[in-house]
Amino acid sequence: MIMLDIQKIRSDFPILNREVNGHSLVYLDNAATTQKPRAVIEAMTRYYEHSNSNIHRGVYILSEEATEQYEDVREKVKKFLNVPQEYEVIFVRGTTEATNLVSHSFGESRIKAGDEILVTQMEHHSNIIPWFLLAKKKGARVVFARMTDDGELDFENFEAKLSSKTNLVSVTHVSNVLGTINPIKNIVRLAHEKNIPVLIDAAQAVPHLPIHLGDIGPDFFAFSAHKMLGPTGIGVLVAKKDWLEVMDPFLGGGEMIREVTEEGATWNDVPWKFEAGTMPIAEVIGFGRAIDYLRDIGMENIHRMETELVGYALEQLNGVDRIRIFGPRDPEKRGGLVSFNLEGVHPHDLASFLDSVGICVRAGHHCAMPLHQRLGVPATIRASLYLYNTREEIDRLVDGMRKAQAMFR
């Protein structure tokens, strides 16, 4: 078991030196986006300074370098997630684009009038809206599996809602509000017993948990680079090749074709069939470096460290007067984030106060309005951790909360 040297890790992130309002930065909004190690920033700068050119086209050395670097990252993603042969990795703009791609290219031809798309009450809007749009077009219905009061998936309810009309299941791996880690292996198994394909929204999972995709076995698996130390503008859809072969393209344009005439076009092979136009090449390269960084530390180590830290956070937060914490009590059942409300202090007032002492948390509905309706509150405060957060930062958060309570009492 390797002890993580947090101070060494923190020294890799230039932004953590920043001061806000005369206080050192305490960044606790990692579920929204993560900070970048110098190595990632430098990898992108180096690409622009050294190898920048368009990929897959040029016969000159710059283009060959760029192409090799880009395609290397695809292989890197496969190794990182232990992706079996029957899957392919598609680069997209982010998790939201991945769900929309599946909705358009897979859902359009599969979903018929009267069909049901099964999601859960704890989904992020990016895993709800594409299905609303699709259902409206097709005369289908989006069904929401319920949550327990502890913020876990009500598995019996999920099973009951997996009906003869269900033609797609789309579920979050880790809730971005509750931190709940869903039993996705069981979900996939259950759905596959009825020949129902499954999409997993892994945006809050891949950055924090070791993944063996073959053990999970979903049809589609989506996540974002910027939530795992990578740049914005790039994400991944891992999908079964069998589906990708028969799916229509998502975006049409250059690179995704084989031949074009005035009569029509034929498509390029998978994965390039789904990567139209000039992709964010520098971002893919930055993403590759982020994967290296995480792999070198080890996802098991990161997961263990976060579980310990979120356990500490839960302990400290439970000591705050009039606090209501949402999601599983047991740190082993949740990812490294905690959402809560302070009775008598509005989330916006609390967030502004915390900002005045250098602390970044998020106040609002976190793109999960149906979840907040289920919780019975319009907004919550969320503190979300990553590998560079410390106990001292949790202490500062709790101290800030107490000061805010005193000020706004």
């Binding site: 309002n21 509005h346 989330p347 916006h348 007032d349 502004s352 106060f353 900002d355 005045s356 106040a363 609002g364 509905h365 309005m369 509150v377 319009p378 907004a379 000020m407 706004f408």
Partner: protein, 126 residues
């Protein structure tokens, strides 16, 4: 604007002891605004006097300190003013008069009651 100015004693006082909070059983105009980001909502009701000036104005709703305090201060700002003056009041003039200049992320909180007022004025026949 610093936190100390944003949440100065005057603001906290307005939030804790709001002026003109309530509802009217009879009113000439009403308007409502909701901030879906946090669920804050303000309803404004007002009555005109015979000269077309605001005789009575009340607000109701829930929300953060800034939204509640600014709603309370809005009612004081509005009383006695003529409809046309209110319709022509710019956001900047209003924020200057209540001396609240929050960062962009909190602007919707401070302007929530102002939006409700504008809706009331739009729907009013005067």
């Amino acid at each position: 604007m610093s936190l100390e100015s944003l949440y100065r004693e005057e603001i906290l006082d307005h939030a804790k002891h709001p002026r003109n909070r309530g509802t009217l059983s009879l009113f000439d105009a009403d308007g409502r605004a909701v901030n879906t980001l946090c669920g804050d909502e303000i309803t404004i009701q007002l009555k005109w006097n015979s000269e077309g000036r605001v005789e009575e104005i009340v607000f109701s709703g829930t929300g953060c300190i800034l939204s509640q305090a600014s709603a309370s201060m809005l009612t004081e700002f509005v009383k006695g003013k003529a409809s046309l003056d209110l319709k022509n009041a710019s956001r900047e003039d209003y924020l200057d008069s209540i001396e609240l200049h929050p960062t962009p992320s909190r602007l919707p909180c401070v302007l929530l009651s102002f939006e409700a007022l504008q809706e009331a004025l739009t729907r009013s026949t005067k």
